[in-house]
Amino acid sequence: MERKLVRPHSMDEALSQREQHGMDALPIAGGQSLLVMLRNKLIDPKILLDLESIGELRGLQRQSSGVSIGAMTTFFDLLSSTDVQSAVPLLGQAAAKVGSTAIRNLGTIGGNLCHNEPGADLPPALLVLNASVELRSRKATRKVTLTEFFRGFFETAVAPEEILSRVEIPILPQGARGAYIKHAISPEDLAIAGVAVMLVPDENKADAVGELRIGLGGVAPVPFRAAKAEAAVNGKVLNDDAIRAVAEIAASEAEPMSDPHASADYRRKMIKVLVRRAIAAAMERAERNGHGKA
């Protein structure tokens, strides 16, 4: 029975397909990973649900409350958008590190999140941006924080009848500075270890950190926030010892896995190095343009 391609023009149409067929109506956004799996028969859905022509899934709006990004926004859109550059530059930094030019031209933020492959570049950055995703079904729309969204190895909170429609990023606190660092054999690879850091200064104590957010990718079945490490330093002075301690704790929170590119132990050791470097990069960016906008 030949596989069907359904190309809905509205969310309603798309969501009713999902309601009817659930996982058998597999949404396809950029298709850069999905079509490889399809060609090699790792997946065999009855229907491919092409999200390309749904207007509501497009567009990137910068509002006072933050930035709202349509799921079908491509990596190229992100790394070349002036709104992203000014409001959430960390996201542009991470998007520029995904795959190759051709993949960045078609690959989308929604597809990247729903595929949830360990070592992907956007998740750590979006985690430290406190992003959340809007999941819509025909009956309801719900907002899920990214930490809840990443459920398990290649698994997310998207229910069979739902489609990820938008990514919402709240406005960054004054003076917040971020950095994303990726360790890989070649730049276009999935990360052996990917670390994103967001440094929010303390309003009153100049050299203390109000809030340090650390997002880790490639070092566990899911991307995650190093909550313990963050707790150890929030509100404290960020000197060398504090940074080293944060890096140690973050490494202990990981559950890395081995593959031909790197062993689990090496991944854990790299977290220590990359967390220190990401914090240094974020702090250096803080000095460079004073306490202005991110």
Binding site: H183, S186, D189, L190, H261, R277
Partner: protein
């Protein structure tokens, strides 16, 4: 002799960067590779492969597969002749017969009009396997307890009768000079080291493809195949499938990269059996996962190097034992000894009076290995040239001086040459030192430089050529040698334009089929310019005398009064009386005789002239992650006449980057015989962002074995890159990694061990 600035004789076409003659087709998308021939009615063939590394096939039931809608045929070993195939050693069945010996070995083949149907139907074939104990490490395979992979090895056709027979070993090649035991006894220092190298894939972008179409009435078997040795392939296909060779016509088409990996039969026999059964053209194109898991990669190896020196740094003894992981079959190896050609140069580019090399090709239950650019030498150069730096360190000598101290010179014997000639070893080393300011290099932190040296010979074989003048006066060369990308066809046209004194663009080249000539070696081993070049020059000489003879008859003079000068046949001292080639050609057709000649040339003796090359690599090592960044790569090449500078530089840059991939990132990672890096996301080869600053220096000498005093370049740019980078990493951060590839993790671990050793209170 210093950097001999030899005044090159002034040529008109030779020495120019003539544009690639097939280039226009390639940049416009018109070049036809095997998979681009679309014949109406063509169906797909797809293979079912063994999931076990070593197993007995007890039951094979294809009924459900045959019944699957869209399936046209399913063949297993029972449906085809029990003939073993191989380029030299015939030890490989076309489909596994009762025994599977590696993960990926072909069990059955399915034909269907739709590619997906052909792929899916394989899963419906029921196979009962009885697992047998596998062996993956060559050193384990030769021990008594190891399983015997080929019980009837002694009966195989093409089994070399050399060396001693170890278990599971199909070839043991020995190279001897002097008495190595005595050499070690007389040595003041003896160093012994073990090195290990990994499986790597040639990574030509065109996957192996074959297309077979059989003419209904005449039974002529038309073949298009990504294979560079059409005549060998025609004869081995004929033997394999039991048809007379004259029935087979192989149309030589463009090949999308070879580097030594496209010389075996691969899927061709199965493609034939299906075409013969279905009376329809059948195409088989390997997916890249099949390429990376079941083609014919470069051999992994365990290498032991033992070197003895006198106090003054003279190397007087070197013994090398190399255990090649040959994989499940030796069928992919083309040379008579069914061993690796690099073994003869295991001792390196040095005059060493006492040398012993033992090179063992051993069966294991992993992918059968084949040739990849300078096969054997790339692995052995990594071991040998790494150890030279380790010795220099131990003797507190500059690695440059240790090399200069022992460098080969004219007249020096080696294990296979009575006396080397035209040796440029010192010159290449001195040029490398000069151009990189080796002696006064101020080393920034975590930056290091390393050097390495190797040499090669040009390849042997035979070749035919036909040459004619077309009615429009253009000269046409006809060959059945494929240009796998090296640019050899362009060079042949430059040669003919030069000797016949016609403009380059008046010479064309066509590629024939295996009907054109009787037989020849085919592309490979950097032999094309050397062997086919001489065949073409012989044809050009014959054509020239034929033209002068015909012109003389037309101009009413004796043939020795006629000369061929800038495109016209002229009467000597009276050049007003002349004929153009077009006039001569037209006259020829009226008198119904062809202006066509044919020639043949063979080379069986390796010329005593070695082609030397050195490399100086500069790296930065990030000590926190172990990541190595290649900052600069200087290479120095021993050349005489450079026939086509752009083409020559392309061979150098391409060879270098394959060397860079080999040392820093490439590995067909294996777990219990299964290749786990099954696509280019997992099997990493250098991409455009990995190319560092490359600087080439040419050291000119007068003579070269190839036409117009030129020297080999195709395979001499790769072998010294890996050891140079390994030595640079040691120079940067003091860690010596002796098993390839040198990944960030290995450098990181070695750095940690070194730091731990330094902190441990010294044992004294």
């Amino acid at each position: 002799m210093g950097n001999l600035k030899v005044k090159q004789p002034s040529y008109s076409s030779i020495g120019k960067s003539a544009p690639r003659i097939e280039g226009e087709k390639k940049v416009s998308g018109a070049a036809l590779y095997t998979a681009d021939h679309l014949l109406p009615g063509t169906v797909w063939g797809k293979v079912l492969r063994s999931p076990y590394a070593h197993a007995r096939i007890k039951r094979l039931d294809t009924e459900r597969a045959k019944a699957h809608p869209g399936v046209l045929a399913v063949l297993t070993a029972a449906d085809i002749p029990a003939v073993l195939t191989g380029r030299r050693l015939r030890d490989m069945p076309m489909l596994a017969r009762e025994r599977a010996r590696f993960i990926g070995e072909k069990i059955a083949v399915v034909a269907a009009a739709d590619r997906n149907v052909a792929e899916e139907a394989g899963q419906l074939i029921e196979v009962d396997y009885e697992e047998l104990t596998p062996v993956f490490d060559p050193l384990a395979a030769i021990t008594e307890g190891a399983p015997e992979l080929h019980e009837c090895l002694a009966e195989y056709q093409g089994l070399p009768q050399i060396g001693t027979r170890l278990k599971n070993t199909y070839s043991h090649e020995e190279w001897l000079l002097g008495d190595v035991e005595r050499g070690f006894r007389e040595s003041d220092h003896v160093f012994e080291d073990r090195f290990a190298t990994q499986h790597v894939h040639q990574s030509y972008l065109e996957p192996h493809s074959s297309l077979v179409s059989i003419e209904p009435d005449s039974g002529i078997i038309h073949v298009w195949v990504s294979n560079k040795v059409p005549y060998n392939t025609k004869n081995s296909l004929a033997d394999a499938v039991g048809v007379p060779p004259e029935k087979i016509v192989i149309h030589v088409s463009a090949i999308g990269g070879d580097f030594g990996g496209k010389g075996a039969l691969m899927d061709l026999p199965l493609c034939y059996f299906l075409a013969q059964r279905l009376n329809r053209p059948v195409r088989m194109i390997m997916t890249y996962t099949e390429e990376l898991t079941a083609a014919n990669p470069r051999h992994a190896a365990q290498i032991l190097v033992k070197t003895g020196l006198k106090k003054d740094g003279r190397i007087i003894a070197r013994q090398i034992k190399v255990y090649w992981n040959g994989g499940a079959y030796g069928a992919m190896k083309p040379i008579p000894t069914v061993n690796l050609p690099g073994a003869v140069k295991a001792a390196g580019s040095y005059f060493i009076p006492n040398v012993r090399v033992d090179s063992y090709a051993i069966y294991t239950n992993s992918v059968p290995c084949g040739h990849f650019r300078s096969p054997g030498l790339v692995q052995l150069a990594f071991a040998g040239e790494s150890q030279i730096d380790m010795i220099a360190e131990a003797l507190k000598m500059d690695p440059l001086h240790l090399r200069l101290r022992n460098a080969l010179k004219d007249g020096d014997p080696t294990v296979d040459q009575k006396g080397m000639v035209e040796v440029q070893c010192k010159e290449v080393l001195e040029a490398a030192a000069a151009v990189t300011k080796w002696k006064h290099f101020k080393k920034p932190a975590q930056v290091g430089r390393g050097m390495a040296l190797s040499y090669r010979h040009v390849g042997l074989g035979d070749a035919n050529a036909r040459m004619s003048v077309k009615p429009d006066g253009r000269i046409s060369i006809l060959t059945t040698y494929a240009d796998t990308g090296t640019g050899a066809h362009t060079i042949l046209c430059q040669m003919v334009a030069e000797v016949l004194d016609v403009p380059f663009n008046q010479v064309g080249l066509e590629v024939g089929t295996t009907d054109t000539f009787r037989s020849e070696s085919g592309t490979g081993a950097s032999r094309v310019t050397f062997v086919l070049g001489q065949a073409v020059l012989k044809a050009a000489a014959k054509l020239k005398s034929l033209l002068c003879e015909r012109a003389a008859a037309m101009l009413g003079v004796s043939s020795d009064q006629v000369i061929l000068k800038n495109g016209r046949l002229r009467v000597d001292q009276d050049s007003a009386r002349s004929l153009s080639l077009a006039e001569l050609a037209r006259a020829a057709t009226d008198k119904s005789f062809q202006l066509e000649v044919e020639s043949y040339h063979a080379e069986h003796e390796t010329p005593p002239e070695g082609v030397f090359a050195a490399c100086v690599a500069e790296v930065h090592v990030d000590v926190a992650t172990g990541q190595v960044t290649l900052r600069k790569l200087d290479t120095v090449h021993d050349v005489a006449t450079v026939l086509n500078p752009v083409g020559h530089q392309g061979q150098i840059d391409g060879g270098i980057m394959q060397g860079v991939g080999y040392v820093l990132m490439e590995e067909l990672a294996m777990e219990d015989g299964r290749v786990t890096t099954a696509n280019f996301g997992e099997y990493k080869i250098p991409n455009i962002q990995d190319t560092p600053l490359l600087k080439t220096t040419l050291v000119h000498s007068r003579e070269g074995a190839s036409p117009f005093q030129s020297k080999e370049i195709g395979e001499s740019a790769i072998s010294q890159v890996a050891p140079a980078i390994a030595n640079a990493i040691y120079d940067a951060v003091g860690v010596r990694v002796k098993d390839l590839p040198i990944t960030a993790e290995k450098v990181y671990r070695a750095l940690k061990e070194r730091r731990a050793e330094n902190q441990r209170p010294s044992s004294k």
